[in-house]
Symmetry: C3
Subunit: 349 residues, 3 copies
């Protein structure tokens, strides 16, 4: 692709040779001849002079470098757009439904679908047009899956769950496993049947080896546009509202409601039956034991508002010093008492 | 089913129309006509007047509402019993052993078994009567599995492990992977062979994508009636005694012994080679670094007895206040010293 | 095997009957007649008199017990060597490439390879000599795998990733899933294409159900000899240098660099874009939020140098006591002020 074509595609201003051929993309410090790179973070500015890239995407606010460049509003976003253009995600070719896939006769399979080797699709499953199911996935009876979905290898969807359009699920993730519910029965526990389902709305993405449990009754629900990372646990009857982001190894306990556009960092845990308000932010490894109001940023274990937590942490670091102060005070006070007794001894008489 | 039949089934006292037809179950706030609901938690009492349910299970202690109801000792347990009655867990039908399953000739398969598509069952495996193996499970040589077990899709059982009767394992869980054992060998590490097995006793349930490592020598053992959630890690040579419950994302390190009827919340971690006593309770996200005596409740990181931990946390929250007090004391003492020097200045002479 | 043969194999000094037959290995407290055991940890010395083992491996520094024994430098290491000798890890026999495996015509499969049932191997995959792929693994297009590798059941390797020689990967682990990258787009998020790969060098071992994400651009890399446990998350663009050990349920965030020969305990989390120096040690459950210098041991949440952390923890435990001291000081000071006002009241006039 010529540099001028890329400039047009990202609606940027080209400075330099419009006819140069761009054959690939790379980071500024490792780019070579024929490649396009970008400068977004100022700390990488030092590489501008030495980069071997043939052209660079830079911010309109930036001074012009000596090499070919395209001036844009946001160099990183433009770079990603070119990336998606040059390396489109390729659909696999499993000959439509692979001969080794086991698909129930009652399944309703859409047009232009790819179903990989050793996939199992149960009775009355609905699979929408243009969806791709990689090898060794297991989709049980009565599951409904929308259009343009992509399930990577070895995904499980348990019976009756519903998945919207444009949903991406990565390898090994389990949707609809039984919620963890047991009623005490003397020393033993009795299983509480988990009769509900999981509903995943449009444009959700879920990472690898995560687990999303079905509801006891009703639905565990992940709303439109949520993005969930690897090894995340979502318990039964949890509700996660639209466009919330959850990083790896976080766990949300049963019946907790998470608002819209919340950001939850990695390894966070919440107790059950609480509410996390819209636009809240939960810091990494936080242990959330109560409701978090909308828009607040919480952190710590047990978690509290981050300003409060940071303040306490600062005092904590100065605890050895404070202890010294107190011990010094005790000594000074003793001395003072002795002195006072010496001067005004009359009280003791 | 008629309401009177349900009342008899739960041994409750019916107040209202005995002939009403119940076609389903639902939560009190979302139930509709023809459905049975329950009231267990008083905070849902407000829905009693407005619910569209045709009948409600309530506590014998509760005042009678205007709608049809059945009075029972424990409305939630009765509700679960009706739930299990109306929605029994259905066994899948894979035509017995599915044609795409690969089962070794030397495997000993019981009666009335279902083995799903793309399952692999190795040499000399024993599988008891009435057990169900969902698609894409992998069961290696010499594994023994009891009766009435249910392994959901994509479960792995490594060679030689033993599983009792009535065991449920959810999708993606791995039983018998190598323990994490390496001996330093200069800068490198040398693998310590993991020659032991995993033993899972009767009526254990294990969630999705959990991992239970085989022992170095001997057995990693999960005793009768234990309930283990999703994404839990049980390391080599761990012993977990009967009826212990472990919530999601917890990790138990090598050779640790967990007692009977222990409750371990989510995201807990224990070091190796310690003992958790019978009936102990470990709070969410605790980091357990030493033995926990029987019956005690521990919490925190590092964990200690919960009363002690909560006390320290309370002081911690008041740390800024205490710091102010100390600084005020310092100033007051200075003033006092000045004053004293003014009065009894003779010492300084 | 005769005891004298074992003594020669471990280059130890035999004391006792050289012709005794050893048929197995066991722990000192549970060994029976015909078995060899070892004594490494002095706290097990009490079992020396009562063990039913036919012989014991002991340290050269140890006094000679009454039973047959072999004196060696390191009894545990010698025991492991005998263990590996008597119980070699057996390769499975899937008849070479099992008839139910789906292997693309363009795949380049080495000599003496075992590929299990229901495995999928994509276009242009390279698999080296003597490697073993257990059932239901999925290896996508253009993956390169070296010699003498062993992938247990249900491992996924996404397209284009590269794996060295002698690599062991346990059940359910995912290599090359998309990194967690999204650019804000109003209230929604836009997927950032993850175009890079994962590179795993020689002699790495990865546990069960772990996840290693592919780089956005370039490589996520795990260098020679690293040992990674179960349920570990390695994010996109992470670099882990040679011979580093990472215990279960730890998560390393995007673009973080971990040095050589680092030891990371279980359930640790690191933020992204930091560096952990060579030979550093990160204690269990630590939350690492900044660079850790080479050779240092860190602990806690937020983590700091362990000596500092332990000091603060000690002060923390004494916080209730310190609070009492401060309150006592306040009272004493009040009394003192009263007393002083009584004596030297003149100031107040």
């Amino acid at each position: 692709m010529k540099l001028i074509e890329i400039a047009k595609f990202v609606k940027g201003e080209l400075v330099g040779d419009p006819d140069i051929q761009i054959s690939g993309l790379a980071k500024i410090q490792s780019a070579s001849n024929g490649e396009l790179t970008f400068l977004a973070n100022p700390k990488y500015g030092k590489y501008l002079d030495s980069t071997k890239a043939s052209a660079v995407l830079i911010s309109k606010k930036q001074q012009s470098p000596d090499i070919n460049h395209i001036r844009v509003d946001d160099p990183y976003l433009s770079f990603l757009e070119v990336l998606s253009l040059l390396y489109p995600v390729k659909d696999p070719d499993f000959d439509g439904i692979h001969t080794t896939a086991v698909v129930a006769d009652t399944a309703d399979i859409g047009k232009n679908v790819q179903i990989g080797p050793n996939v199992y699709i149960g009775e009355s499953v609905k699979l929408g047009d243009n969806s791709v199911i990689f090898p060794n996935c297991v989709i049980l009876d009565n599951v409904q899956i929308g259009e343009n979905c992509r399930f990577y290898s070895r995904v499980s969807i348990r019976e009756g769950c519903r998945v919207g359009n444009g949903v991406i699920i990565h390898d090994g993730t389990v949707v609809g496993s039984d919620g963890f519910g047991f009623a005490p029965d003397g020393e033993k526990y009795k299983k509480i049947p988990q009769m509900g389902i999981v509903v995943i709305e449009d444009d959700v993405e879920i990472g690898a080896n995560s687990t999303i449990d079905r509801a006891t009754i009703g639905e565990t629900i992940i709303k439109k546009g949520c993005k969930i990372d690897n090894l995340v646990q979502i318990a039964h009857n949890v509700e996660i509202d639209a466009n919330t982001v959850i990083a790896a190894q976080t766990g949300i306990s049963g019946s907790t409601k998470v608002g819209k556009h919340v950001i939850i960092a990695g390894q966070v845990g919440t107790v059950g039956h609480i509410e996390i308000g819209d636009n809240a932010i939960l810091g990494a490894k936080s242990g959330i034991s109560k409701n978090v109001p909308a828009g607040e940023m919480w952190f710590g274990y047990p978690a509290m508002k981050i300003m409060k937590q940071k303040k306490i942490e600062a005092y904590l670091r100065r605890l050895p010093e404070m202890s010294k102060k107190v011990n010094k005070l005790i000594k000074q006070l003793e001395k003072l008492e002795d002195k006072l007794n010496l001067i005004g001894g009359e009280d003791e008489r």
